[in-house]
């Protein structure tokens, strides 16, 4: 069947009332967690996984994907209204979005962000449809050595997540790989680093780790600083003027392109497209000096880039099995929990599922646009809840989330331990994203390496004698070398924000 036929089949499944309901609920819940400052899409998606446990795999992933892009948009609302980005990618939106809100133009800022996000997300999903089959056909030719090469490329890209210190990013990545070693060895079945604990035989689950690092870590930071919510901004009319539309058209178009192409590259991180888009808009503007004072272009471009990136980042995840960000790594973990391994095999073995999920991306983006604008007063009301109450409620959800995945209090303890680690990472400015990515990719890479060496009876030349594998390893080497050189240049900003 051709792509169009498969997509239509996907729409038939995604438009079933129950799946539609899951997408709506996912968008609302995702936006809600995105609105909560400090929770962010990664922890938000992880926290909400238990809600999807009772659903069938298609419904569960439709809901989680909706939570994912809902959370990406939710971060925008707090950036505009209270100058606090819900997640790092929305940080740049504070610059002009908050200034617009202070000038009584919070409505147009949120409206242009919603419309830009819809356009960016929809175009990126079209890209996923067009690229999915060619990429998977190509990737289906992969044997273990090529798969190992691909995983090395994925891991090498974590060096791109380094901010001010490549060493600290690499430490984080290696700690993730070491954590992935805990449990049953993937080839010979021998227990490793379990110290006689039954709970460690399956290793650490991605959900307690992510909820700990991102959710509990952030809660500890906020408890330490006694975060106080100050919300006194009024939301004006959401209607855009003709001038607003004229000023936003090109930034939305450029943001779509920037977000889409950077989303194809795993490991870039959501911050890069948003800041790049902002820089491009400033460069393209006739009045660059007015950026930072409430220019609608400074909201339209980055917000579009953010959502285009979020949707495009699903392309390497679905087609090659490479998660490009912590949130897509969680989605990958959720897919695996449902017995579905992302990668070329997914399209071959579960076409109905994968095309239904892709179709749901279109529907989800539309739902998000329709829901977000009328729901803004609700999010404003949420922001008025005292932070100590929000923090306590989030903590409660983290407990439910960690416990319910395997009905074990061990996971709550693990989440707390990783929360303390996340807190220390933030204090020491060590990025957490590389740890999450390598925790997911580590076992896959090790399996690829060891299966390849079994094929060649221990001869490492197998990786260089096969053209595709050699090419992938060369790409990885190139990425590492260029990242190392780039790391020598000073970079502003904190690594722990990545």
């Amino acid at each position: 069947m051709d792509t169009f036929g498969l997509l239509m089949g996907g729409f038939a499944t995604a438009l079933q009332p129950t799946n539609l309901l899951y997408a709506v609920v996912g968008c609302v819940l995702g936006t809600l967690v995105g609105v909560l400052p400090g929770v962010g899409p990664a922890a938000g998606t992880a926290i909400l996984i238990p809600i999807t446990v009772a659903l069938d795999p298609t419904g569960a992933i439709i809901m989680l994907a909706a939570i994912y892009y809902g959370a990406m948009y939710g971060g925008t609302i707090t950036s505009v209204l209270i100058n606090v980005p819900g997640e790092a990618a929305s940080a740049v939106t504070c610059l002009d979005g908050y200034q617009m809100a202070k000038r009584g133009r919070a409505g147009p800022a949120l409206a242009v962000a919603a419309i830009g996000s819809f356009i960016g997300g929809t175009v990126a999903t079209m890209g996923l449809v067009l690229l999915a089959l060619p990429l998977t056909r190509f990737a289906l030719r992969f044997g273990p050595p090529e798969f190992f090469g691909l995983m090395v490329v994925g891991l090498s890209l974590v060096t791109g997540l380094a901010g001010r210190s490549l060493v600290r990013a690499l430490v984080s990545a290696i700690l993730g790989l070491l954590l992935a070693q805990i449990g049953i060895d993937p080839v010979m079945g021998a227990p490793r680093f379990t110290f006689g604990q039954m709970e460690l035989l399956d290793g650490f689950g991605i959900v307690p780790v992510v909820m700990g690092l991102f959710g509990i870590g952030e809660i500890l930071m906020n408890a330490e600083a006694r975060a106080v919510q100050v919300f006194d901004t009024k939301v004006s009319s959401l209607v855009l003027t003709k001038q607003d539309i004229k000023d936003s058209a090109m930034p939305v178009a450029r943001g779509t392109g920037i977000g889409f192409f950077l989303g194809l590259i795993p490991g870039v991180g959501a911050i890069v497209p948003t800041f790049l888009s902002y820089a491009v808009e400033k460069k393209a503007s006739k009045t660059p000096e007015r950026f930072g004072t409430g220019m609608i272009e400074g909201v339209a471009g980055p917000e579009t880039a953010n959502n285009a990136y979020a949707n495009a980042a699903l392309i390497p995840l679905f087609t090659l099995g490479i998660p490009g960000s912590p949130t897509t790594a969680i989605l990958m973990g959720a897919l695996m929990m449902n017995g579905l391994v992302p990668g070329p095999g997914l399209f071959k073995e579960h076409p109905q599922f994968v095309w239904a999920v892709i179709a749901s991306f279109y529907i989800g983006n539309l739902i998000l646009l329709i829901l977000n604008l009328p729901f803004i007063p609700v999010w404003v009301a949420v922001l008025k809840i005292p932070y100590s109450i929000l923090l306590t409620l989030v903590l409660g959800f983290c407990v439910v989330g960690a416990y319910s995945l395997s009905n074990s209090v061990f996971d709550i303890g693990a989440m707390l331990a990783f929360g303390i680690l996340g807190y220390l990472f933030k204090k020491l400015d060590i990025p957490t994203a590389p740890l999450v990515l390598t925790l997911v990719l580590g076992p896959l890479m090790e399996r690829g390496l060891r299966q390849s060496l079994e094929m060649s009876r221990g001869d490492f030349s197998i990786f260089f004698s096969r053209p595709l594998s050699a090419m992938l390893l060369a790409i990885a080497a190139l990425v590492i070398v260029t990242s190392t050189f780039r790391a020598l240049a000073p970079v502003r900003g904190a690594d722990s924000q990545i």
Binding site: L177, R192, L395, V399, L428, E454
Partner: protein
């Protein structure tokens, strides 16, 4: 104040961790007739981690250290609030199964709401009841996600 000392301590901790992992991984089979064994991968990861720890120590000792952020150390109140969150989580881990979700979370919510902020008694009671009994109802009855009932069968 600079970040020299925190990074030196981090480097030493990482070096010790690398040493521990290396020793533990050498207890596993390093190589088999078919190729690398279970100890191969962790051993080389520990070597890389050790190398990075040494680089971190050298950078901290010889390079120009970053200034320490003003909020690197929290106030006494900050540490107490953090301690309250950690204590609540530890207590949850210990008593969730014997006591059950509702009672445990009711106690945790009451403790945290009274420790972390000043709210009206009615608000505290409503949030605590909603977060414990309400959430239990939502997950167990509606979403069919099992949560511990405890000795009181709640």
């Amino acid at each position: 104040m600079t970040m020299r000392r925190p990074y030196q301590i981090t480097g030493i901790v990482l070096l010790l961790l690398a040493g521990f992992v290396a020793v533990e991984s050498l207890r596993l089979r390093y190589y088999t007739s078919l190729g690398p064994g279970p100890g191969f991968f962790p051993f080389w990861l520990s070597v890389i981690l050790g190398g990075l720890a040494v680089v971190m120590l050298l950078q901290a000792g010889l390079g120009r250290p970053d200034p320490m952020p003003a909020d690197f150390f929290a106030s006494r109140g900050g540490y107490l609030r953090m301690g309250a969150v950690v204590a609540a989580m530890v207590a949850t881990t210990l008593v969730l199964e014997p006591l059950g979700f509702c009672l445990t979370m009711l106690a945790v919510y009451l403790f945290l709401l009274l420790t972390l902020g000043r709210q009206r008694a009615l608000v505290v009671a409503l949030v605590a009841l909603g977060g414990s009994f309400g959430v239990y109802h939502l997950f167990v009855r509606w979403l069919h996600v099992p949560l511990p009932r405890g000795l009181l069968s709640w």
